[in-house]
């Protein structure tokens, strides 16, 4: 099947390849809850923050999926899917669609397939993935560095200069840390690693960033071993 638009992109990618990814989105258990058809009314666009600053439209996602337009789907998957803010303002849809939810699924499919566009979108983000997967908290006080947040003003510099003392000058005991948002117990981290292994999350990371995957696997293996577990005993149960 040929794309129907004159300015179609990704014409070199075989239709079967695009269809495989399209079907992966459609067969996701969340999909029937996210799309019920589309009036093409554009109410979602009016509510959408990303539509104001990017060439981006939740209506186009809903329409494309509802029309089963596999070629346009593949374009969105590569060129637009990462612009969404995942705010879910588009749930104001009169047809009870959730274009943001469709996008969550599409991104997951893009990651699972290791699409280059997904790798590019997540390149600068890998240290955050490392943080949340290895510690259970996504952002930490020691991330507040002027070179990472130069646009956030002089208070970031003040925080980073005084980090150790200022963290100790906070009353809740769980927050006397600089490398984690709060002090997550070792038992809890261990349980989190088991969850990542049992749900195949590490393999998802491997699809987009092999280096990050290797570091994470090593960190997890070490803690599991310390507690008498073998990382290979935690097979992905989703494949059962």
């Amino acid at each position: 099947m040929n794309p129907i638009y004159k300015d179609a992109r990704y014409t070199e990618v075989p239709y079967e390849e695009k269809l495989k990814l399209f079907d992966a989105v459609k067969s996701d258990m969340r999909y029937p809850h996210e799309l019920h058809g589309c009036y093409e009314c554009g109410i979602c666009v009016a509510a959408c923050p990303s539509a104001r600053f990017f060439d981006f439209s939740p209506r186009v996602f809903a329409q494309t999926m509802a029309r089963e337009d596999v070629h346009s789907f593949y374009e969105l998957l590569n060129d637009n899917v990462w612009d969404c803010s995942q705010c879910f303002s588009c749930t104001c849809c009169p047809r009870q669609n959730n274009p943001g939810g469709i996008i969550t699924i599409m991104r997951e499919v893009a990651v699972n397939d290791g699409l280059q566009s997904a790798k590019d979108a997540l390149q600068a983000y890998s240290r955050i993935i490392y943080k949340v997967m290895s510690t259970g908290t996504q952002v930490s006080p020691d991330m507040l560095q002027p070179d990472f947040f130069p646009d956030w003003g002089p208070d970031v510099r003040d925080v980073s200069l005084n980090l150790d003392v200022w963290r100790r000058a906070i009353p809740p005991e769980t927050m006397h840390t600089v490398e984690l948002a709060w002090d997550v117990s070792e038992k809890t981290r261990l349980e989190l690693y088991m969850i990542w292994k049992l749900t195949g999350n590490l393999e998802m990371i491997e699809n987009v960033d092999e280096g990050l995957y290797m570091i994470l696997e090593e960190v997890m293996e070490e803690l599991l071993e310390e507690h008498g577990y073998d990382i290979d005993d935690f097979d992905n149960i989703l494949e059962d």
Partner: protein
């Protein structure tokens, strides 16, 4: 039949009996259009599939979007912290704890807690429903083992856990996966009767907070930013109140501001997002910054000129506050202090602006606001510096609750 003889096409408008706009009045639907998640949860419990963690007494019942009641517990709460709050705006979480302590409420601040990991889920999609549900249920199981009921600090955790709830309720295969995972972790499969956000606790406590108010807020004008993941991502169980916005917008945050005698000022982009974007705020901030300043802060400035803007989520405080600094280079009309409802409530009850509310972690200058609240910020900052000096000299020591 010639064209002139044709019957006119009759549109069904007359039969529809649609009231003219001028005659219409907003009314809640007679029956909520959504399913009752509690009923479904209790059915699963009766079938032996899961255990429902009951909201402990004492609790307050409040109206939600479609008129159903929701129980909000006052104490015996397991504080499900937020990584963005604890990591970057620590006075946010500290104020929630401080309020609980002031009321003498029993609570637990666990180390056996992970974040919901949903910031990453919405930013990178390097996860899947089974992992997300297992992370949620691991936290809930731990809350049960600790003997407390989860109180969720983060708006995204709150919204995401409601998404997880819907998925678990409707997908037996997902429940089976989560059950298997929890069995490997040696944990029970429990789910709370209600997903409760801390701002709902602030809302139901607002009159009690007002009774303990020691600072006069009557000259303060506030704009409210409601968090998208609070009232748009799973709309069902957000709090609405017929006396606030006629029950058409969530009452959250506006309720406590009103109770404390400050003025809530409206602005035209109230419903808009803050621009956080999950991925964007970390690695594509030009978007977050543009949206936060142009669609939110500037609109508030021009239409309401508030003294402070209050919100009730991690990402919203961060984005609205931190986005303002660099836009000054483009002569944008910015300069509104941003904090959470919890910090605002704590300040009203006399909390220290730096030792408790930790306002030095925020970006926009708070000093004029503090003066308006009757707070001597120079004296307060000196007190903070004395504490910091003391801590610097003894590296193993920490500020304690007793000292604040």
């Amino acid at each position: 039949m010639t064209q002139g003889d044709a019957e006119p096409i009759r549109l069904p408008m007359a039969e529809l009996q649609v009231a003219k706009a001028a005659d219409r009045q907003f009314q809640l639907p007679k029956e909520p259009p959504t399913e009752d998640y509690r009923k479904l949860l209790f059915e699963l419990e009766a079938a032996g599939e899961i255990e429902v963690l009951r909201v402990p007494e004492p609790f307050v019942e409040v109206d939600t979007k479609f008129g159903r009641k929701k129980k909000v517990p006052l104490e015996n709460t397991w504080h499900h912290k937020s990584c963005g709050q604890c990591g970057h705006i620590p006075g946010y979480s500290t104020s929630i704890f401080w309020l609980n302590r002031e009321f003498g409420f029993n609570y637990h601040d666990p180390r056996e807690q992970t974040s919901c990991t949903a910031w990453n889920y919405y930013a990178s999609s390097t996860s899947n429903p089974a992992a997300q549900a297992a992370v949620a249920c691991r936290n809930f199981a731990q809350a049960k083992l600790d003997g407390y009921f989860p109180l969720i600090h983060c708006g995204t955790s709150y919204g995401h856990y409601k998404e997880v709830r819907a998925q678990l309720l409707h997908h037996p295969e997902l429940r089976n996966q989560v059950r298997k995972i929890l069995a490997r972790l040696n944990l029970p499969f429990v789910f709370p009767e209600e997903i409760v956000h801390y701002s709902e606790w602030v809302h139901v406590m607002r009159e009690k907070i007002a009774e303990r108010q020691v600072r006069d807020f009557s000259s303060i004008t506030v704009t409210v930013h409601p968090a998208c993941h609070y009232h748009k991502l799973v709309v069902e169980d957000a709090i609405y109140d017929a006396d606030l916005y006629d029950g058409q917008r969530t009452a959250i945050v506006s309720g406590v501001v009103t109770a404390l005698g400050a003025k809530v000022a409206d602005y035209s982009t109230w419903h808009d997002c803050c621009g956080f974007g999950f991925r964007h705020i970390l690695v594509s901030r030009d978007f977050s910054r543009s949206f936060a300043t142009i669609r939110k802060i500037e609109r508030m400035k021009e239409e309401a000129d508030p003294d402070v803007t209050l919100t009730h989520d991690t990402g919203c405080v961060t984005t609205l506050d931190k986005s303002q600094f660099s836009t000054q280079a483009h002569n944008r009309n910015v300069g509104i202090p941003v904090m959470s409802d919890a910090q605002f409530a704590a300040l009203s009850m006399g909390a220290h602006p730096y030792l408790v509310c930790q306002l030095h972690w925020h970006g926009v200058d708070m000093k004029p606001l503090l003066e308006q609240m009757g707070i001597d910020h120079e004296k307060a900052w000196k007190e903070f510096e004395e504490v910091a000096d003391k801590l610097e000299k003894s590296p193993e020591s920490y500020l304690t609750w007793e000292e604040v």
